[in-house]
Symmetry: C2
Subunit: 584 residues, 2 copies
């Protein structure tokens, strides 16, 4: 391949992202915000217009909010609070077996799943990327990729060991460009060109499932009472999952059996000529009887039939230089609503680690371990397998338990050099307790300078920086704060050692003294007037919720919002040791 | 004037709004959303870029939210929660005398004042107007106005009794157009051309006050601890009010005495050559000592000096055909932060009443009374006068009491044909009680179809329609709901009598039965799946909060969100009588 790649004047880029779906966009956005030189190309001339992924789980909404994008997503999205279950009874048809709350995580900031056209998500991420100065180049297709085999080059942080030839598809004499990249992210979908070009095999179950999906607006005389809730429908001959959508639309997922004759048993290929939206609506009509759930042809927005297995790529990186992300490395059943969520969360995790290496802050040698920890796809694959065992139109409690796990709220990164096992005073089992490896649960504090209520999650913005929360402990007066002098001296020393801008400091005082002003606090604890808060909001005591006692604590959050380490208040040295493990 | 007006080919419009500030835009937006043909012109080539009005009070934010615009406003606005007060002491300089919460209204949905550049407000309203298909025509100036004196023409709802000549200012050979309008709204500022052209005098105090205002970003070494709160500063020689602004800016209002020699005692005119931002900052520097509050020339965004009296136009309409609104009809001291708020609330009130007359739904004869009630400027003038008696850098409690009134939350329209005195089971004194003439206080209910929490204020959108809330009372089962048959029959009859689309129906059930679905409810009570709710949100029982008992009630809200009438549940006839008073 390399001979064709070498043939024109090359351009250089730190990271080339191939594919502008949710995974590629999230990764590019994280990189751009961390100051990395990134390009993103996509072979399609436009973003997705309709259909495709639609479920956005609570933790994914938190991740979007860390980029300031939750409002944009939620503006027109539908919110799902309830799951219902219908089972078939002879002579009756389907009958409601019960309803349960969908999201049961007490710390979820957004206690619902949002459903919204994937195109809207891509538009929101693309607009945010544009604000960072990066334009999605489309339609542009990669035609060749060449990864160096020179170990010295691969180890050199300044090298560009990957050459990718890309072709602009909208020009008459198709222009080709040779791109030299330090890193490549292949986020180019289930049929990933990057994955195949690098011969990364997929692993997993061999059995393929055939799913059909159709998006439509029901007619007003439709009387199925749960069409605004998720409904798992165990009909006589077929299993259906109904997802309520934005704008009064719904999606039906229909899991088709082999008896439908859609899949050629030998080739495993879909015979799509056997299919049409009319046939799908006919299946649904029978399944929903005695209820009416119908539409008219002009109210069908999108439909598809596809074959899918529960499969995961055998590796997510090649030589720690080319990464595959999103559908390119794992394919999912629609049951858990996981596809886009796993893609966004993994890309969110990949982006900052890649950025730290490129900026020269982190050791390349630490990289492998990070990805072993970071890419949670293996763990997710297990989850998906478990989900696969949940009989979709089966017991509601089982499905709810599965849904609960898939919210993303319970993600916990295992101990590693970036999720340290430093002395930890917290009880990791409490739902409201700060835990190393878990995300920062939302709590509201008051900003000292203006007494404005602030959600602490909004202090942990996705800007590529680590955050240090100084829980100062009991501070009842300005004098008490001044007694934090040793701490501030130690912190000043630490901050001067770290790369400028790597660590942001926020303080949360345990005080309800109206007389305290932000000017009373040592400057290290309030680098900006928006940095200092106190535990005085009516919603409840934040220290208690986090399991932090009156002596205070230091908590480091990774750039993706997960707790990196927790130490006693005075132990700045432990924080230094934490950073020394992986920073140059 | 009429001879020049008659000289070219006329165009026709229902309402011509002159002036695209907050008042004109709010009025045009309300008209456009109610389906009225409206044009809006402004002499300025662009919207306000900096400075001008900046305080948005809680009720005004609610009004914006009724147009779906609160998020856009709040995105980058500053929020003010606290007022501080500083007084001068000899040998010390100014010293903090205390801090209090600014907004003390328990029912305020937004418990803060938002501060934001007037240009942002104009941009938000202008964008919303554009979505309704109306473009702000600028720079366009009116040059002549002629109002018919023919009483028959003035009474004819189909007549266009006003002729306005407008001139496009950006064309080389200035193009003129003759506009025939049914109504004209003059929202063209304190020096209103419309007001002067129609010889409407201003009334009020003769004493002019000289105010200076300056917007700037303080330097990081500024150490005045309350610069993120409102601060009333009673310095040795001068009174200053500090307003924290968006983007870390502040505004200082400085009330200058006549000893500054800025105003010519004879002419009452300002000698602006006497002034500069440097001089203003010098005054502030002395006033704030011993604190530092300084800036650099490049961080001064805007400044102005102006002479203002507390004045109100003698009338707000001429022949019920030309209306003046906003600063054109009342000028304010900056003390209460009222200017833009009064303008927006009055324009909000004017728009729907004008729309109902133009659409032929209301009697023109009822119009005069509506405006006597509707334009609250007389009442506001009284308020302003009271505010004027509050010594600005004076006692904090007095200022807070004044601020509390100016939130807009307590606005209560007096009984009139559109705020009926029908049987009212509520206690009008309770803060959480529905009261005829007051706005709907926010409460959260659950939507039956999907159990989504919904703020009831978001059911009362500004779409030009009256809303009927059917509080069904205790309904524990689907059978109970079916027992509401007589009510639905009566309601069906009423709805068939009213103009189509004039009245929207929403229902709020007092039930916590998980088994109820929205399909169980009679269709009249759920014209759409989003129309039916129940009192089951964790934030508390809505019936109790509104003072409605288990027997239910019917509540009519005017298109501007104020309670029109309250009747017992079965009394559809009283609702009919309410509408008959003012509808054709």
């Amino acid at each position: 391949m390399s001979s064709t790649v070498e043939s024109s004047t090359p351009s250089k880029v730190d990271v080339l992202v191939i594919g502008a779906g949710p995974a590629g966009l999230t990764c590019a956005l994280g990189l751009a915000k961390a100051g990395v030189n990134v390009r993103i190309v996509d072979h399609s001339p436009t973003k997705v217009q309709s259909g495709h992924a639609d479920g956005v789980m609570p933790r994914t909404i938190e991740v979007l909010q860390s980029h300031g994008l939750a409002d944009a997503l939620l503006k027109d999205a539908n919110q799902v609070y309830t799951i219902s279950n219908y089972n078939y009874e002879a002579d009756v048809g389907i009958k409601c077996a019960g309803r349960v709350t969908m999201i049961n995580e007490p710390t979820a900031r957004y206690p619902f799943a949002a459903t919204q056209n994937q195109g809207v998500m891509e538009g929101i991420l693309g607009d945010a990327l544009l604000k960072e100065g990066a334009v999605i180049e489309r339609p542009v297709r990669p035609t060749a990729i060449d990864l160096s085999t020179d170990e010295n080059e691969l180890k050199d942080p300044d090298a560009y060991p990957i050459k990718v030839r890309v072709k602009k598809l909208n020009e008459e004499e198709a222009a080709e460009e040779l791109v030299h990249a330090k890193y490549v992210v292949g986020a180019d979908g289930a049929h990933s060109w990057v994955r195949r070009a690098l011969n990364v095999p997929m692993e997993g179950e061999q059995t393929a499932h055939v799913w059909a999906a159709i998006d439509f607006t029901p007619t007003p005389d439709s009387n199925f009472p749960d069409w605004r809730n998720i409904a798992t429908v165990n009909a006589k001959d077929v299993g259906i999952m109904l997802i309520p959508r934005e704008g009064g639309k719904i999606r039906l997922y229909v899991e088709l059996g082999s008896e439908d004759g859609l899949v050629n048993a030998e080739s495993g290929r879909l015979d799509s000529a056997q299919f049409s939206p009319d046939r799908l609506l006919e299946i649904a009509k029978k399944a929903f009887a005695p209820f009416v759930l119908k539409t008219t042809p002009e109210n069908v927005e999108w439909w598809t039939v596809y074959v899918i297995g529960q499969r995961v790529a055998s590796t997510f990186s090649v030589k720690d230089r080319v990464f595959i992300a999103g559908d390119a490395c794992h394919t999912h059943s629609p049951k858990g609503g996981q596809g886009m969520n796993v893609s966004i969360n993994d890309a969110h995790n990949l982006a900052w680690k890649l950025a730290y290496t490129i900026r020269g802050w982190a050791e390349l040698i630490a990289f492998d371990k990070w990805f072993a920890e970071g890419f949670s796809a293996k763990a997710r694959a297990k989850l998906i397998a478990e989900g696969n065992n949940v009989d979709l139109p089966g017991p509601l409690e089982a499905f709810r338990a599965f849904s609960s796990v898939t919210t993303g709220i319970r993600i916990r990164y295992a101990p590693s050099i970036i999720t340290a096992t430093a002395p930890d005073k917290t009880d990791e089992n409490g739902p409201y307790t700060l835990t190393v490896g878990k995300r920062l649960p939302p709590q509201v504090v008051l900003r000292v300078a203006d007494r404005r209520p602030v959600n602490v999650q909004d202090l942990c913005l996705s800007n590529g920086r680590f955050k240090l929360f100084v829980f100062t402990g009991d501070v009842l007066s300005a004098d008490d704060i001044q007694s934090l002098n040793k701490l501030t001296t130690d912190l000043d020393a630490l901050l001067s050692e770290l790369p400028k801008g790597l660590l942001e400091v926020f303080s949360i005082i345990k005080a309800k003294d109206d007389a305290i002003t932000y000017m009373d606090v040592p400057q290290t604890l309030r680098p900006h007037w928006t940095s200092i808060h106190f535990d005085g909001h009516a919603s409840g005591p934040v220290y208690d919720a986090y399991g932090i006692n009156r002596e205070g604590a230091l908590v480091v959050f990774r750039p993706d919002g997960y707790v990196g380490t927790i130490t006693p208040l005075g132990e700045v040295e432990l924080v230094r040791q934490y950073f020394r493990q992986f920073l140059k």
